[in-house]
């Protein structure tokens, strides 16, 4: 295993900017690399993406490997696995960090199995064991009821990280780094899955991921109409509306605003949970919030109560309106 050296971060982007989760990955990776006394590299995969490399350097990378191939446009999963397999075999990083994103969830396990190693998904903490120098990978399990610490016995030690769990470095454009191209080494005949369409179902207004305040409803809201009341409150806070899983499953609100382990993981200043019992799987998605307010009539609910939301909410909304106006 000694031939594997250094920390690598698979870096994602949207348009001409690296994703925040990738910058967080570089921040975490920088610290691990320093602890190991080794270097940090970033891996950029796509088509026509070389121009993004300086951003990765500014955020901590010593080397950026650019894998640029027309077949990687739109990041088809089969091609990405092949490209990353090729990168790992050449770069041989001891640690590989990816984001728990649409791409990461798909790519990381397939890559790990193909390389004969293992991945720990959705890590919230990463550290180097001072004695063994192996990566301690902490991830929530049992829907967030517990935390597990895993150690990989093979290299590369692959992890995906949870959004907002790690800290990005302040970008420094004076940092120096090396940019190297790596051939994607794609076999077009091994690309089995075709992308026919990418459908965006963005909700109008402020995105739940970016909102300072999120007003979320649960099963107890009972209908799509109920969510209109939450909408009104969210607007007062210039925030967004979210939901636990049952309202999404029932079609009261789009799936894209589901907060929880299998939905969005958010960390707003204020999270107002209305008629949400607070299952661990839901709390995993909102426990990063600075203040959580829960309105629930069930005293046994896992998040605390004020009362029947149908009575509490209008009075609360009215008072918020009044206070904001004064």
């Amino acid at each position: 295993m000694a031939e594997y050296q250094g920390v690598a971060v698979f870096v994602e982007y949207k348009g001409d900017a690296l994703l925040p989760i990738s910058l967080e990955g570089l921040g975490a990776g920088r610290k691990l690399a320093d602890d190991l006394g080794q270097s940090l590299s970033a891996v950029l995969v796509g088509s026509g993406i070389g121009g993004l490399a300086p951003q990765a350097v500014a955020s901590g990378a010593d080397t950026v490997y650019v894998v640029d191939d027309p077949l990687l446009k739109d990041m088809p999963a089969d091609a990405c696995v092949m490209a990353m397999e090729n990168v790992v075999k050449q770069v041989k990083p001891s640690v590989l960090i990816m984001g728990q994103t649409d791409t990461g969830r798909d790519l990381a396990p397939r890559l790990a199995f193909r390389l004969g190693t293992v991945v720990t998904m959705d890590c919230v903490e990463l550290a180097i064991d001072p004695e063994s120098k192996r990566l301690l990978q902490t991830k929530p399990v049992y829907g967030g009821n517990a935390l597990a610490v895993f150690v990989s016995e093979t290299d590369p030690q692959i992890v995906t990280i949870r959004t907002k769990a790690m800290t990005a470095l302040e970008p420094d454009s004076s940092r120096k780094g090396e940019i190297k191209n790596i051939d994607a080494g794609l076999d077009a005949s091994a690309i089995k899955t075709r992308v026919l369409d990418r459908v965006v179902e963005e909700v109008a207004g402020i995105k739940i991921d970016d909102a300072g305040t999120v007003v979320a409803g649960g099963r107890g809201i009972g209908s799509a109409e109920g969510f209109e009341q939450l909408e009104e409150l969210a607007k007062l806070f210039k925030g967004a509306v979210g939901a636990s899983r049952p309202p999404c499953d029932n079609g009261w609100i789009p799936d894209t605003v589901q907060v929880g382990l299998t939905g969005k993981i958010i960390a707003p200043e204020l999270y107002i949970a209305v008629a949400i019992s607070g299952s661990s799987q839901h709390m995993s998605g909102c426990s990063g919030a600075k203040t959580i307010v829960a309105i629930n009539k069930d005293k046994e609910a896992n998040i605390f109560l004020v009362g029947d939301w149908k009575k509490v909410l209008p009075a609360f909304t009215a008072k918020v309106k009044e206070l904001l106006a004064s």
Binding site: A77, V118, V119, A148, T193, V200, E201, K311, P314, L323
Partner: protein
């Protein structure tokens, strides 16, 4: 269409978190007082398989791996409408990681022989790993689509809608393939009385490692690449206050006042 669905028995994830306990000595978790259930994510995969069977016909075989598998639990997919149940029930199969589990399931699937489609849940509700489906695909050399919310089969291929953070992708893949299923596929059906009665009469097929030509070194602790070093319950720190009021309306107004005082508002 021959469909294989991998589902596991888990501790009940819907049980109140207060009943969740960890035995530090064995690094094992339990839901005190709550019986185990079929993994809810796997149940969505069973539901997806039955929808495809209704649309194009075929046979649904369910494989579950574990020990102390309660028959009334693991037979639930049969009661929902699956045709056959295979159990990999043996100590040698457990105690590993996603890798050893995928090794065993892939070997069992090879042993079944005929398959067009393999379905798994998007992840299991206990490990939350989301790797077994991808692992089976890699071991068997099959294409893999994760996080499906809709699957249409026909002409030797699948059209799959994959959940993304901003909507969904529409993907096409030739069969055989592996697909992992997300909850957006729709609520799993309830078993009918007729289904439950029929499931009672079905004897599960039980396979040991030797039956599926897989070496112990590939299974359980032998086949594992990740070691669980520690399992613990996090301590949540934070202040919790209740807002009082003589009526719910008054509580609501007091809550707004309190948030203003705390400068959150």
């Amino acid at each position: 269409m021959d469909i294989i669905v991998c589902v596991k028995q888990v501790i009940d994830p819907e049980a109140p978190p207060s009943s969740f306990k960890i035995d530090a000595a064995s690094n094992k978790a339990e839901m005190h007082g709550a019986p185990p259930v079929i993994d809810p994510y796997g149940e969505y995969a069973v539901e997806a398989s039955l929808k495809i069977k209704e649309a194009v016909g075929g046979k649904v075989t369910v494989i579950s791996l574990g020990v102390n598998l309660l028959r009334e639990v693991v037979k639930k997919p049969l009661a929902m409408g699956a045709d056959q149940l295979i159990l990999l029930e043996e100590e040698a199969f457990i105690g590993g990681d996603s890798r050893s589990t995928a090794n065993a399931l892939a070997a069992a699937i090879r042993n079944v022989g005929e398959y067009d489609l393999i379905l798994c849940g998007r992840e299991a509700s206990d490990t939350n790993a989301g790797q077994t489906g991808a692992g089976i695909a890699e071991i068997l050399g099959l294409p893999c689509i994760t996080l499906a919310r809709k699957i249409d089969a026909g002409d030797g291929k699948l059209k799959v809608e994959r959940v993304t953070s901003s909507g969904y992708d529409v993907l096409e893949v030739p069969l055989p393939a592996v697909v992992t299923v997300s909850n957006e596929v729709g609520e799993p059906r309830y078993p009918t009385i007729k289904g439950i009665m029929a499931a009672k009469k079905v004897e599960p097929i039980i396979w040991k490692p030797a039956d599926i030509s897989v070496d112990d070194s590939e299974l359980g602790t032998g086949g594992r690449r990740a070691k669980l070093q520690r399992l613990y319950q996090p301590v949540h720190e934070g202040k919790c206050e209740f807002t009082e009021g003589d009526t719910p309306e008054e509580s609501g107004a007091n809550l707004a006042q309190k948030l203003r005082e705390a400068k959150v508002l």
